[in-house]
Amino acid sequence: MQVPKNLWYTEEHEWVKVEGEIATIGITEYAQGELGDVVFVELPQVGAKVQQMQAFGTIEAVKAVSDLFAPVSGEVAEVNALLSDQPEVVNQDPYGQGWMIRIKMSVPQEVKKLLSAEDYEKKVG
């Protein structure tokens, strides 16, 4: 199971990459494996406000639907347009091309509430 060391994680299996005030968000390798083939990803519009651990979108796999939870609060700065045509990249490359949104963080210290790679690995290992 791939759990990159440079990312933060949520209990709900999202990952976060923090670069300055921008947080890039996706779902983990474990999450995509549990969900199976992803067929639609519903994401917010750029400019939408999100709250830490509130749903910001949904992900539909063949078998099941799941909410996506915002690891941090802030404003949506960018949405991965690739996912509307090729949702399967979430399965193929969850930590890379399968990223979902970028958030301009309003409360950067919220990151401290997230799981480290080590803690997340324990959770799914």
Binding site: G36, D37, V39, F40, T58, E60, V62, K63, V65, N91
Partner: protein
């Protein structure tokens, strides 16, 4: 209760299957992925372990009388080595289970849903007639489904039975890879194919033999996830989703197996009355106009008014859109009728569809 394993459990684990509890068994939900597996069955051939299903045998001088009393289709029409889709109903017309009745040379076999196995068995025993003997061999028999346009070419080298002589819904008693087997031309995918019933101790050999024989056609093991999407594209009912004790055969579109003129059977009086009075609702198929996936339990609306409920839904790998089945009030059941599906409080557009959803081009 301990979760059971089929004779092929180890095989699935080695193949990297995701195994989940289903109807009291660890079953493979997927191996490589539902969409890939689905397309494999539609394009060439796939192999399923469906050994969780139940096999009951009925023999004796009154075996046919008993089956006629317990099931809604007309088993008297069956010739030796012929099979028939049927169902059992309660006296109120509610469906106990859907099943397949096989007429063998000297007895009958019923293949029933795993989730209903004990309930079905108890119901049969409760109504057993003198002269009809009942045996439950579910724990001793394995069932493999070989499905897809290349299924016959895969199986033929392993058996002396000329598969071309087995018509749809017929079977042969023969050997596969040297092992005694029942070979039936039945399935739950809409593709040509076979269901092969063998003693547990030989399941592994047959599985391996078929996987090897199918290599030329890129055969793959197929999990229950793709089994569900395949059957949904055909609008085949799944017990527990589309039919259950609160639904009746006629409204479920199973009028074609409901033989009201065959004579007395359990549920007949109510079903006869319903057929005379007309239906209040009907199980339809619908396709999504919006990018959305319908699921069991979602409300169906028409111009904002609730008129039904989704019983099954998925994303169709062949149509590349959301498809579903559900009961709607009569009047909203004709092909082309616009519907709305309430998907977690968001309304998505759908249309009553001609089914099966997937038609071979």
């Amino acid at each position: 209760m301990e979760i059971k394993k089929t004779a092929l459990y180890e095989t699935h684990a080695k193949l990297g299957a995701k195994l989940v509890e289903f109807a009291g068994y660890y079953m493979p939900i997927q191996y490589r992925g539902i969409i890939d597996e689905h397309k494999r069955v539609r394009s060439t051939v796939g192999l399923f372990d469906v050994s969780h299903m139940g096999e009951f045998f009925i023999s004796g001088p009154r075996a046919l009388d008993f089956i006629q009393q317990m099931t809604i289709n007309n088993a008297a029409k069956l010739e030796i080595n012929q099979a028939q889709y049927s169902a059992m109903c309660y006296p109120d017309g509610g469906i106990i289970d859907d099943l397949i009745v096989y007429r063998l040379a000297d007895r009958y076999m019923l293949i029933v849903n795993a989730g209903n196995l004990q309930k079905d068995w108890n119901w049969l025993v409760e109504h057993q007639m003198p002269g009809a003997d009942l045996v439950n061999r579910s724990d001793e028999l394995s069932l493999l489904a070989l499905q897809g346009p290349r299924a016959a070419e895969t199986l033929q080298p392993l058996t002396a039975v000329d598969l071309a002589t087995i018509d749809t819904y017929h079977l042969a008693d023969g050997k596969v890879a040297g092992i005694d087997a029942l070979i039936a031309r039945t399935g739950y995918t809409g593709e040509p194919g076979f269901e092969i019933c063998v003693e547990n101790q030989h399941a592994r050999e047959i599985w391996d033999g078929l996987m090897k024989a199918g290599k030329a056609f890129a055969i793959e093991p197929i999990g229950l996830g793709a089994r569900d999407t395949l059957r949904l594209e055909m609008k085949y009912c799944l017990y527990g989703n589309d039919i259950d004790e609160t639904t009746q055969p006629l409204e479920a579109g199973l009028g074609w197996i409901t033989k009201l003129k065959k004579g007395e059977f359990i549920g007949r009086d109510v079903l006869l009355a319903v057929s005379q009075q007309g239906l209040k609702r009907r199980l339809i198929g619908f396709t999504m106009q919006d990018r959305a996936v319908p699921r069991h339990g979602y409300p169906i609306l028409a111009q904002g008014k609730p008129i039904g409920v989704v019983t099954s839904g998925t994303f169709s790998p062949m149509l590349q859109q959301g498809i579903g089945m559900g009961y709607v009030q009569i009047g909203f059941d004709t092909v082309g009728t616009p519907l709305e599906i309430d998907i977690r409080n968001r309304i998505s557009r759908a249309t009553v569809a001609d089914t099966p959803f997937y038609k071979k081009s």
